[in-house]
Symmetry: C2
Subunit: 212 residues, 2 copies
DNA sequence: ATATATACCATACATTTGTATGGTAATTTA
DNA sequence: TAAATTACCATACAAATGTATGGTATATAT
């Protein structure tokens, strides 16, 4: 509509720079300066970076606030959604296999700033429906927390992953579904093929276009 | 107003500066510089700001990255949660009044980066429970979208706010609860005290400590 | 009474930062 | 073939930035 035709394809170098900017925003909380980008990629001056940034801006992927340090805004998906890898699907009902690589990406709101080592899992199954977690929801898992009784955790059990409520009972660990259709999983103390992956600290559900 | 002297508590001025930093991070995506803070509060130089920042850093509320522009890190809640104002409570059941100021803050994951003009509402009531939105959930409202039939919207009706499913039927707009206990609200075409606030694009629920 | 925290001001300075201009070279597009 | 685009380089500069020092004044704590 507006005379300028936007070429949306970006080069590999531009892609790498964009990824670096996103990574810095996510991990450090602030976008990088030209100098920081140049240092990261080994450029000897900032002009090279500036040209790549202008290219990215022309293609509509970022917006540069003039004269503002670190003034790089992401315009991905109308500035609102950022693709995040979903590293696996996790059974709220019966265990499902975790895939070695990310199975998918989900468009989390740019709200969805993940801290360094947290990750996302998509829930399959309905065993947690009484905890208001449903099939298709994205759970945010923090691997740095020790689970307390009653919290919902993600755990790996024989190369499969589950999301269930956690209870420690003496020597044993009990993983309980909220849904009475599923029986608790009881893990003995010295069972080796079991590992708590992290604590579910949040649930996100996109309301997309679908009705409900 | 000069408060009670206490080493660990922060003063009102420090609180205001902290709020401004959080707001800038949330709204603009980047923390402010000393100069920007000074301009906002009417200080004539940056040294005043620097002293307040040092006070905040001494009290553990922020961390200052030396020589890094905009290098203000929030250390709230282990860097993971950021308080966001909840501008009102919204009835999924019957309308509730919107308060002139933020009624509360909710600790969204720092994941929770909101775009400039989107906002959060906490849902009260159970009229949307069949859409899996429950009392206490935080809905993310994008005011820049035009609602389509079947989408869940936030609307203001005579100074109260509701979250309901939207249907346009000829001249009328129908706001439907998922829960059959509540009757649809029907708005005539030229009814002036009605306004669509935005489309609910996501739901976030923190899993806190509680077992629920 | 003395030390400390708060709350502003002014001045100063070495770096950093965004930005511009101009150059070389390879590649892609029209 | 000509014109862009991409991908680097070097140099330059005004403005912005973090930071420090020192001053004045008030309020609080020991």
């Amino acid at each position: 509509m507006y005379g300028i035709y936007m070429n949306r394809t970006i080069t590999e170098i531009q892609r790498n720079i964009l990824d670096f900017i996103i990574g810095e925003k996510v991990d450090r909380g602030i976008p990088p300066t030209r100098a920081e980008i140049a240092a990261h990629f080994g450029y000897k001056n900032r002009s090279t970076v500036q040209q790549h940034l202008k290219a990215l801006a022309n293609k509509g992927l970022i917006r540069l606030s003039r004269k503002i340090s670190r003034g790089i805004e992401l315009t991905l998906e109308e500035k609102f959604f950022i693709p995040r890898p979903v590293i696996g699907e996790v059974a709220a009902g019966n265990p499902l296999t975790i895939y070695p690589d990310a199975i998918d990406t989900v468009e989390l709101p740019s709200i969805a700033r993940m801290p360094g080592d947290s990750f996302l899992l998509r829930v399959k199954g309905d065993s947690l429906k009484d905890a208001f977690i449903f099939s298709g929801d994205i759970v945010i898992v923090n691997p740095n927390l020790d689970p307390r009784n009653g919290q919902i955790v993600a755990a790996v059990l024989e190369d499969a992953a589950v999301v269930k409520r956690f209870y420690r009972k003496g020597d044993k660990i009990e993983l309980v579904s909220e849904n009475p259709d599923y029986k608790p999983i009881i893990i003995e103390r010295n069972y080796s093929k079991f590992k708590i992956v992290g604590v579910v600290i949040g649930v996100y559900r996109s309301m997309g276009n679908k009705a409900g």
